[in-house]
Symmetry: C2
Subunit: 299 residues, 2 copies
């Protein structure tokens, strides 16, 4: 397990995913337009590609291949990107910068950013359903992926989370409330990534359930460590400022229970995530390594 080359694995998957995303945009809109530029600007802006990598690794864990799930992986990243574009809008979080670059509505304009978000959300489902993008031989599995994705991205997950986040602004949240909010806002789509990967990869319902549990714990640990890094991370390593959560009086785990207790909590989440993988064979080494990375990461 310690021999698994995680950084090589992540880099290779990231390359495949970014090539596939580029292809999707090219297929979707052959002529160059302001709309496609705005979509590409945000979709190709980098980022860890954690969700699509999780999707592919989950598929591989149940014996599926990267090709089986690339449609799902791209769809998930499109949904994630659209949510960032819309969350950054002036009427929402009103952010001018993301990953050190102007946000979509700053680089283009508000109308383009709204439409680029709508278009990415819509394209996610077209990429899943249409053979124009990726060939699929399993309509039942694909339809299940559409169901999982629309459920997690909608009222049962992401959108409801954003609505509650706006409503909770300035309020003091308890641990349970904070966890509930994160489960909706970011957890649901991370869970869905593993669930879609396992489903499109041909996993049994038990495997799908276990990998979904793994991703739920992983997503929570990821968020907790994000908060911890904001307190004690090295800005030079992270590529972004530290201490910003405290200035904004954001509800975070360290603010609720301290840095050390937060780290312990993240470790317990990761133990639980690894426990969900105990029945899987060595095809799951990527997921095991990703779990370890989440609590060891410095950025």
């Amino acid at each position: 397990m310690t021999l698994f080359d995680l950084s090589g694995y992540l880099a290779q998957k990231r390359r495949s995913i970014e090539a596939a995303l580029q292809e999707c945009l090219r297929f979707a809109l052959s002529e160059n337009s302001r709309l496609r530029e705005a979509m590409a600007y945000s979709l190709m802006a980098g980022g860890k590609r954690m969700r699509p990598i999780l999707c592919i690794a989950a598929a591989e864990s149940v014996g599926g291949s990267q090709d089986d799930v690339m449609a799902g992986a791209c769809a998930i990243e499109m949904i994630h990107t659209y949510s960032l574009i819309h969350d950054d809008l002036p009427a929402m979080d009103d952010d001018a910068l993301r990953r050190g670059k102007p946000t979509c509505h700053m680089a283009f304009d508000e109308a383009s950013a709204i439409l680029a978000g709508d278009a990415l959300l819509t394209l996610a489902f077209e990429v899943l359903a249409s053979d124009r993008f990726f060939r699929s031989h399993h309509p039942k599995r694909t339809l299940e992926a559409v169901r999982i994705l629309s459920h997690a991205a909608g009222l049962a997950g992401m959108i409801q989370g954003q609505m509650e986040d706006i409503a909770a602004e300035g309020a003091f949240l308890t641990f349970d409330q904070l966890r509930h909010l994160h489960n909706l806002k970011t957890g649901a789509l991370i869970e869905a990534s593993a669930e879609i990967g396992a489903t499109l990869g041909g996993g049994s319902s038990r495997q799908v359930r276990l990998l979904k549990n793994y991703a739920k714990d992983l997503g929570l640990a990821f968020q907790v460590i994000d908060d911890v890094l904001n307190v004690e991370g090295d800005p030079a390593v992270m590529g972004k400022a530290a201490g910003t959560d405290q200035i904004k009086k954001k509800n975070t785990y360290p603010a609720l229970m301290g840095v050390s207790e937060s780290k312990n909590f993240a470790k317990k989440c990761i133990e639980s995530a690894l426990h969900s993988l105990s029945d899987f064979d060595n095809k799951t080494n990527s997921l095991r390594a990703i779990a370890m990375y989440v609590i060891e990461r410095k950025r």
Copy 2:
């Protein structure tokens, strides 16, 4: 054909569709929230329900039932509604009223309107894909419906149309440019309504193609008559002001070729629409009556 009771048919379908839309919202989000209120406010605001009725009538034309396609009918109306909510936003067309009522962002706020639109767009695909809403026994047909809907609502249709509409503001369009814009902005979803109905209803690929052609002509005639009514319609009958297009210097068919020539053009479109139905039996009488209604309507 003249004996077909169109107004009874439309009223009955409208009732069924509105009951089904209510059910979808209730299933999607059991607890009442500001987000569900905003979604319901726009989704249940009335309107002709032309697209879902077209979807059901197309299904019936190929021997399918209303139950076979209610998921598709609701999904289409959700997509249509989300597009109205986002188009009305300050950054887009900046409209304060729609159908005589405050627009969604005026009745709630901008963030709620953006999220309500996103949620309706997402819910459209969940309603199609999930058995929680309507039972489906044809994953292949359902997946095809997801493909058709995402294609028509996205870069190949509605969203691209809205982008080009914004870009064309203040410019003088030729007949071909105007038709191209309408085909994208409203035509694509109207075509998709018939295509999805015929597909979920179990139509052959030839039937699907013919009904799609019918809807293309119908949608164009509908738009032309909309423009004509804005010039010479009776505000009391229409329930909205006339002459507004001219004040806003909108590109319209009457402005391009006069009222009388516009009416002739709409008639030719309807003749072509009826021609696409010539091989169908009397199960298609609803679609024939709808075509006649489109050019005879006063509102």
